[in-house]
Amino acid sequence: MIGRALRHPSFVVGLLITLLVIGTGLLSLFWTPYDPGVMRIMNRLRPPSELNWLGTDQFGRDVFSMLMVGARNALLVGIVAVGIGVTIGVTLGMIAAHGEGSLLDEAIMRACDFTFAFPAVLTAILILTFLGPGVVNAIIAIGIFNIPVFARVARGAALQVMARDFIRAARAAGRTGFSIILRHILPNIAGLIIVQASVQFALAILAEAGLSYLGIGTQPPNPSWGRMLNDAQTFLAQAPLLAIFPGLAIAFSVLGFNLLGDGLRDLLDPKTKER
């Protein structure tokens, strides 16, 4: 399994990028070249140099340090938002699958359809206008949109597993209800959930950047890639690199999580799994 994984190009590239982003975020907890919050107006809009590897912004803050802390911010949003989606979504999906065809199942699935019917970003903006801007509320808004995604995936996968013989064998051995789900179904759908989670993680990072770009996500002075993009707009003619670096950071990490998801999908697919 491990050998096969290491020969899978998109898995390897995705994993390396993901590890790099996570490593950078963790490192920023202990060390950044400069304090990303400290403004040195004298040093404003410097191009990349030995002192400031990626240059400085309009307040003289070190861009590299801001990107490092921005990585941490993006990861935090991704983890919590996807975490909300996985826990609530998978639970709902299991409840729906357990009572397939029941009123409860119908209710849960229609609620998912309902949520899907709205354009996610517009509704997130709506939620944030209600709750007020801020990273916590952005996480909640993104998390809410992850719930139906996981509910559907989990329900579908659970129904497939339920049709398999070992579930009937488990019933014949005396198991019932939720203990079948915990012991026999969840472990068999975990792979699919993980794949979906890495894709949703990429989307969550993108969503946070978008909301922060619009000014209703992460608020200053907390650095966010989306905010950096927004700030850079004003100086696009003078200092285009200011927009390019956070843009690259967003694209790079989204690509990384997507590649990781693709790789995992191949590796965990029972059809390609060796016996």
Binding site: D165, F166, A173, G174, R175
Partner: protein, 313 residues
């Protein structure tokens, strides 16, 4: 010990099993035979209380004095796996791919509160050894995909007998295996029945397999009993045309070169069955009476539900 009385299973009003009765004594083996689609599996699942969602069972399934059809799911759990074990046709898919086989055997013991996990794992090793798996102490931590089909079926048997049930239901346990493995599994099941005293309800579409394991046989077709009696007598002088047809389709007893004669036609879907004998459309001896009225049992050397049985010898 097990007495099934007038069992009827319906799916949205369509009969799947009609008025089926049979019984099984302690330690006895009863074979249930019939073509695919005859209702063998549904009969077994009705006993376990595990019929697919929309199917309903009526009548009585008396097991150790209790009518299982009256029990709810919670009460049935004291029977499933504990007092009635069940094994299935597909050893490839009846084990959970993500758990070690020892774990899956131990699970049943822990579930029914017979042992703690540590003791149950030790017992799992002993059971694997008992069902003839070599190197049981190592195999206990194998995953299902690391085992052959025959070994997996042995694991299933170990699981089903872990709580020492007094009844074992085996639904086509050897049909997916090749002939030599099939024969080993049949020997194992016979040994277990004789040594542990488990009564066995042995389901197969293959009369030759039934003949090896069960002293008594029930022939099922279209959800109704066709004939029942001592397996030897049934094989030697079948009285129901359907049993005769099954026998003629066997490779057994034919001299080399003669053609097997499968029963012409195929099993009609449950909803197309007339009120009479389900076999009448394919039966060489059928007439209008057969189509319109359920045949009464005729008792001779065997019991046959037929208006025109062969005369017993």
């Amino acid at each position: 010990m097990l007495r099934v009385e007038n069992l009827r299973i319906t799916l949205r009003g369509t009969p799947i099993i009609r008025n089926l009765s049979f019984s099984l004594d302690r330690g006895e083996a009863l074979g249930v035979v019939g073509e695919s689609g005859s209702g063998k599996s549904m009969t077994a699942l009705a006993i376990m209380g595990l019929l697919p969602g929309l199917m309903r069972a009526e009548g009585k399934v008396i097991f150790e004095g209790e009518n299982l059809l009256d029990l709810d799911d919670d009460a049935m759990c004291l029977y499933r796996g504990r007092r009635i074990g069940m094994i299935f046709q597909e050893p490839m898919t009846a084990l959970n791919p993500v758990h070690q086989v020892g774990d899956q055997i131990a699970e049943t013991l822990v579930l029914h509160g017979l042992m703690d996990r540590v003791a149950a794992l030790r017992e799992a090793t002993r059971l694997l050894d008992r069902v003839g798996i070599e190197d049981a102490s190592r195999r206990v931590s194998s995953y299902p995909h690391e085992l052959s089909g025959g070994q997996r079926q042995r694991v299933m048997i170990a699981m089903a007998m872990s709580c020492k049930p007094s009844l074992l239901i085996a639904d086509e346990p050897t049909s997916a295996l090749d002939v030599t493995v099939q024969s080993e599994i049949l020997d194992l099941l016979r040994d277990l029945r004789l040594q542990e005293g488990m009564a066995t309800l042995f389901i197969s579409h293959d009369l030759a397999v039934i003949a090896r394991i069960a002293r008594r046989t029930l022939v099922l077709y279209g959800g109704a009993a066709m004939e029942t009696g001592d397996t030897g007598v049934l094989l030697k002088s079948p009285r129901h045309p359907y049993t005769k047809g099954l026998l003629a389709a066997l490779p057994h007893g034919h001299s080399r070169g003669t053609r097997l004669s499968p029963i012409p036609g195929f099993v009609p879907a449950a909803k197309h069955l007339a009120p009479g004998c389900p076999f009448h459309g394919r039966c060489p001896r059928g007439d209008e009476t057969c189509a319109d009225f359920p045949p009464p049992p005729s008792f001779e050397a065997t019991t046959a539900w037929c208006f025109h049985p062969e005369r017993g010898s």
